[in-house]
Symmetry: C2
Amino acid sequence: MTPSVPQGFKLSGTHCGIKRNPGKPDLSIIMSDRPATAVGVFTQNLVHAAPVALDRQRTPTDRFRVLVINSGNANACTGDRGLADARQMATLAAAACGVEASHALVMSTGVIGEFLPLEKIEAGIRAASKQLGNSEESLVLGARGMLTTDTVHKLSGRTILVDGRSVQITGMAKGAAMIGPRMATMLSVIMTDAALEPATAKTLLTSIADETFNCISVDGHMSTNDTVLLLANGAAGTAPLTGESLATFGQALLEVCTELAKAIPNDGEGCTHLVTIDILGCADKAAARRIAKTVAESPLVKTAIAGADPNWGRIVSAAGYSGVAFDPGKVDLDVNGVRLYQQGSPLAFDKPAVAESIRSQRDTHVRLMFGEGEATARFWTTDLTPEYVRLNADYTT
Amino acid sequence: MTPSVPQGFKLSGTHCGIKRNPGKPDLSIIMSDRPATAVGVFTQNLVHAAPVALDRQRTPTDRFRVLVINSGNANACTGDRGLADARQMATLAAAACGVEASHALVMSTGVIGEFLPLEKIEAGIRAASKQLGNSEESLVLGARGMLTTDTVHKLSGRTILVDGRSVQITGMAKGAAMIGPRMATMLSVIMTDAALEPATAKTLLTSIADETFNCISVDGHMSTNDTVLLLANGAAGTAPLTGESLATFGQALLEVCTELAKAIPNDGEGCTHLVTIDILGCADKAAARRIAKTVAESPLVKTAIAGADPNWGRIVSAAGYSGVAFDPGKVDLDVNGVRLYQQGSPLAFDKPAVAESIRSQRDTHVRLMFGEGEATARFWTTDLTPEYVRLNADYTT
C-alpha cells in the first residue's frame, strides 16, 4: 500500500531527457509549503559528488523549502564546473517554486564523470514545478524520478499519534548497486509533518542510519552520491518533539528506514536472494558489524547462496579474515535455522534439504554465533549472480 | 619453457581419488635428499586450516626432508580431528620416504569443512613415494597435484651464478579463486639448491611475498590455507648466502615469485583480463597498497573491465572509499596509456578507442596518480565475469 504524503509537502516527477527512455521519470521535486527542518547523512567517500558538497554546506537547516533530484547523471568527479552546476540546479528549482535559492537542496544519481545537461534539467524543473501535488500518483512519480537501475520504486510510511496529533512519516529511496555501507549508501528522502529541531533531527537520523542504511550491501562499492535527507515541516501542528514523543517518533522512523534499507538489496542488480546476516555473541558492536560486513561482501559467500549451496566454510572463513579477534573453536553457524557448524567443527546435516530451503525462498538467513560477549549486528545483502555481472559490464557504453 | 628441478630435490604427483576425475593428479610429494632450510609465510585468516597450523609449528627449520600436498580437500574448519589428520598425513609421507616424521610438512587445498579421506591419501602417498624423480615430467606432475580449479599449472624458474656455483630456483603455485591478499594467498612451493640460513630465508621470503603474492586478488576472499614455502637444500655447494650473493639470489627469487603471483589472477576463475594496477604519488607505501587493494577488489571496477568499459568513475570512486586521505583535485588516471581524468576533472577522450584497447588485449593497465608523495604500489587482479559467478555458485554440491 502506498503511504500518504505528509501534510504541507508536495511532489512531482517528470521525464526531461537525461535518461533515454521517455517512460522513465528522471527529475523530481519535493517542496514544503513552509520552512522545514532538513538534516542529512552523506557518503563517507572522499571522492564525493557536487550535490553532496552543496547539501553538506546547507544542512542542518530549519529553512528548507525545496529539493530537486535528478537521475541518469551523478554530477560526481566533475570538478569546479560540477559544483557550479549543482548550485545552478538548486537556484533554478528555487526560482521555479518561488523560494529563496539558499533554501534549496539537490540530489543527483547516475553515471559518474559527465557534466549535467543543464538545459534539459532547466526544462524538467519548469515542468515538474507546475505538476506538484500530494496525491498517491505524485508521490510515486517523485519516487520514480530518483531511480536508476532499480526495478521498483521504494516507499515506506507510518502514521503515528504524537502529542494528540496524527503524524505521518513517508520515505522514498533508490539504489540497486554501488551499495557498500559506511554512513548512508544510496539516496533516500524521508518527509514528515512532525516538528523537529535540526539538532535533534540530525542526532536521530544519524543513529538510525547507522542501524539501517549503513547495514546493507550489494557490492561493497561505496558510492560518491549517497545521501539520506530527513525533512520535517511541522505541518501536523506538534511542538518540536522531545522525550516520550520523540521516542515514539524515533521508533516509527526506524521502521520506515529499515523497510527502505532492506528494499535496496532486495532490488539489488541481478539478485535472486535477500540475505539477512545476524552476528551474535561478539565482544562489542564494532566487532559484530565488521564481521557482518565482511561476510556480506564476500563474493564467494554471495555466489554460494546464488547457487543454493550451503557452503558454510566460505561464511566461517570470511569471518576469519574480518580482522576481528575471536576463538574459532567457539563458533556456531545456522543457515535457515539449521545448525551446520558447532564449536569450530562441522556437523553432519541434511545438505539437500538445506540447499532446497535456500533454492525455494527469496530470503536466506545466516546466523553466526561467537562466544565472546553479548554484542550483535544485523546486515542485509544480496547474492551474486551472472546477471549482476552482465548488467555492470556494460553500463556507460 | 619448463624450468629444471634444483639439485637434490625429487618430486612426483599422482591421482589417489580425492578428485573425481582420474586424469587429474591430487597428491604430490616433494623430497630433498638432504636436510634443507624450510620457511613459510601463511594466511593471516584467523580461521586457518590444520596443515597451516602444523607447518607454522614446524618452520623455520633446517631439517626439512619431505612435503606432501593434496588437492580436492582443504582440511580446514575440521577441528581437532583435522589437526590429527594433518599430522598423520605428514607421518605417512615421512615413513614412505624413510625420514623422521617431524621433518615432514603438509599442504592441503580444496573444499573447506570435510575430513580428509585418509585411506585414499595413504594409498596416494605410497604410490607417489615410489615415483619420485627430477625430470621435467616429475616437476609438472608435482605442480599439477596441487591444482584445484586452475586451468594451467604454474611454474617459474631462474638459473643464476652465485659464489661461482650455478644455482637453480624453481617454484610452483596454485590458485584461481579465494584470492585476497594479506600475506600469501594461495599455495606455492619454491625449491632452490642454494644454501640459506633459516632466519635469512624467512626474512627474504616475507619481504618478497609482500611485493608479490600479497599484491594479487581474484575475489578478495582470504583463504584458510594460503602457504608459500621456500625450500633451500644447499645441494649446489654454496655456503649459506650473505651480502652480494644473497642480493643476487633475492633478485632472482623476486622474479620467480612475481611470475608465479601474476600467474594466479591470470588464471583467475572465469577471467578474461589480467589487470595491473599501478598506484603512484602516495604519502607512504601502506597508503598506496590500500588504494591498490580497494580498486583491485571493487566488483564494479572488475565488471567494467570485463565489459571493456572505460568507466573511470568507478576507479576513482573506489580510491575514494579506501580510507586513505588524499586531495581528489590532484588525481590523474590513465587506462592503457590514455589519460582519462586529470587534476580531479574528466578529460575528453576517444572512448571507443580505449574500449577497443581493453577489449582486444588480455592485459589491462590502470595507472592512478596522486599528488601526495613518492610511494608506489603495484597490484594484479582479474576482471569479474558471469563465468566466475557460475563456477562459484556450484562448487561443493
